[in-house]
């Protein structure tokens, strides 16, 4: 186990369209290890789709933005057709982090047209009501009080952007207004894609990622490593 890594990610190739990809953000290595394991065990137990899950764990909001391609260096990412190599189905982030809080990260994600559809869940060791309200108002799907347990992770299934999972989540009946609003937006979207079979890529905000019809060519091996992708992009 590479305990010194600040970024750890599983290899995900674009063809793994049924694999759920979660981006976890926490400055504590202990918590990153725990959340990663919680997610993987939950996937095995069938809480997510076919049980295939890939987890990318980063130690800061800044690295999370870099991973998504939303960092300062790539300010033009939304206009130059930049495509993130790995579609993210869920972002789970700690609230209290140095430099950039989970709340600030949430705002940046919701401000981006490319990524605002990705559900974001906030974790915090403090059960502060105004903090929770602020996060939910800003568009967070949920707020988990640490320490995180398996039962908390079970809830996450309902927030995935994948259509298969959404179908089963209508019975959640949570009082969160934001979730209902997003469901409405998705219903409008699906009317345009009635001919294609339900596929994960159609509902994600990133335009052409992980679509089976796109020719992978040499991209899987190159893009499969976000770090390599970052290095490449900066030398362009």
């Amino acid at each position: 186990m590479d305990t010194d890594a600040v970024v750890s990610f599983d290899h995900v190739s674009p063809e793994d369209s049924h694999e759920v990809h979660v981006l976890a953000v926490d400055d504590s290595l202990v918590d990153r290890k725990v959340i990663e394991r919680l997610l993987k065990i939950s996937a095995c137990k069938g809480f997510f789709l076919d049980g295939k899950i890939a987890v990318t764990a980063v130690d800061s909001g800044i690295r999370a933005l870099q991973f998504l391609g939303l960092d300062e260096q790539r300010r033009t990412s939304e206009s130059d057709g930049f495509v993130p190599s790995l579609k993210v189905d869920l972002i789970i982030t700690d609230y209290c982090m140095p430099e950039m809080t989970g709340y600030e990260l949430l705002k940046k994600i919701k401000e981006s047209s490319m990524f605002r559809e990705i559900p974001v869940v906030i974790m915090s060791s403090e059960n502060v009501l105004p903090r929770i309200d602020r996060c939910l108002e800003e568009g967070a799907e949920d707020f988990i009080v640490k320490p995180v347990k398996l039962s908390d992770v079970k809830r996450l299934k309902g927030y995935m952007t994948t259509k298969e999972v959404k179908v089963g989540s209508h019975d959640r009946g949570s009082g969160v207004e934001i979730n209902n609003k997003r469901k409405l937006e998705e219903e409008e979207e699906t009317s345009d894609m009635s001919s294609s079979p339900p596929s994960i890529s159609t509902l994600s905000s990133s335009p052409s990622v992980s679509s089976p019809s796109s020719s992978p060519t040499s991209s899987p091996t190159v893009l499969a490593s976000p770090i390599r992708r970052l290095k490449m992009s900066t030398t362009d």
Partner: protein, 157 residues
């Protein structure tokens, strides 16, 4: 006969765990960690706990350094370290350590130097105790795994 050895060690392990729970040293989050250990990740608990020890010792050193400053102590920075310490301690189920962090942080909020010194002492003591007990637990577990894995020809089976 070796079957007995494994069973005795199992009993020892459970007795120690029960004791630690009863004393409030550990809480149910530790059990949660154990549930995350399986064939795919057979050493998960000890791996996470070792990371915790490593991080905690750094944090404790930082706290001691900050408190021993000749000039004004940076209470805000102490608070940040304590938040981290609190967070990771609660994530592994170290209840008593977490609680002392809470009290310590309250003392830093008030810039209460005497209170901070007391809290630091308690924290170091409690952390030391936790570390010893968890090492003991892992030792028993290792022994048990060894014993359970050994196969001897047994006459009556």
């Amino acid at each position: 006969m070796l079957g007995f050895g494994a069973d005795l060690l199992w009993a020892d392990m459970n007795r120690l765990l029960a004791f630690l729970f009863h004393q409030g040293v550990l809480d149910e989050q530790f059990l949660q960690l154990q549930q995350l250990q399986d064939e795919a990740s057979p050493n998960f608990v000890s791996e996470v706990v070792n990371i915790y020890f490593h991080e905690s010792e750094k944090l404790l050193n930082n706290l001691r350094g900050l408190l021993m400053e000749r000039e004004l102590s940076d209470y805000k920075k102490m608070g940040i370290h304590l938040n981290q310490f609190m967070g990771s301690s609660s994530s592994i189920g170290a209840k008593r350590v977490t609680n002392i962090c809470v009290a310590f942080r309250a003392a830093t909020d008030q810039s209460n130097r005497a209170g901070c010194l007391r809290a630091l002492e308690m924290l170091e003591h409690e952390y030391c105790y936790l570390k010893n007990k968890l090492h003991e637990l892992f030792q028993i577990e290792q022994q048990r795994a060894l014993v359970a894995g050994v196969r001897y020809p047994v006459q009556n089976q």
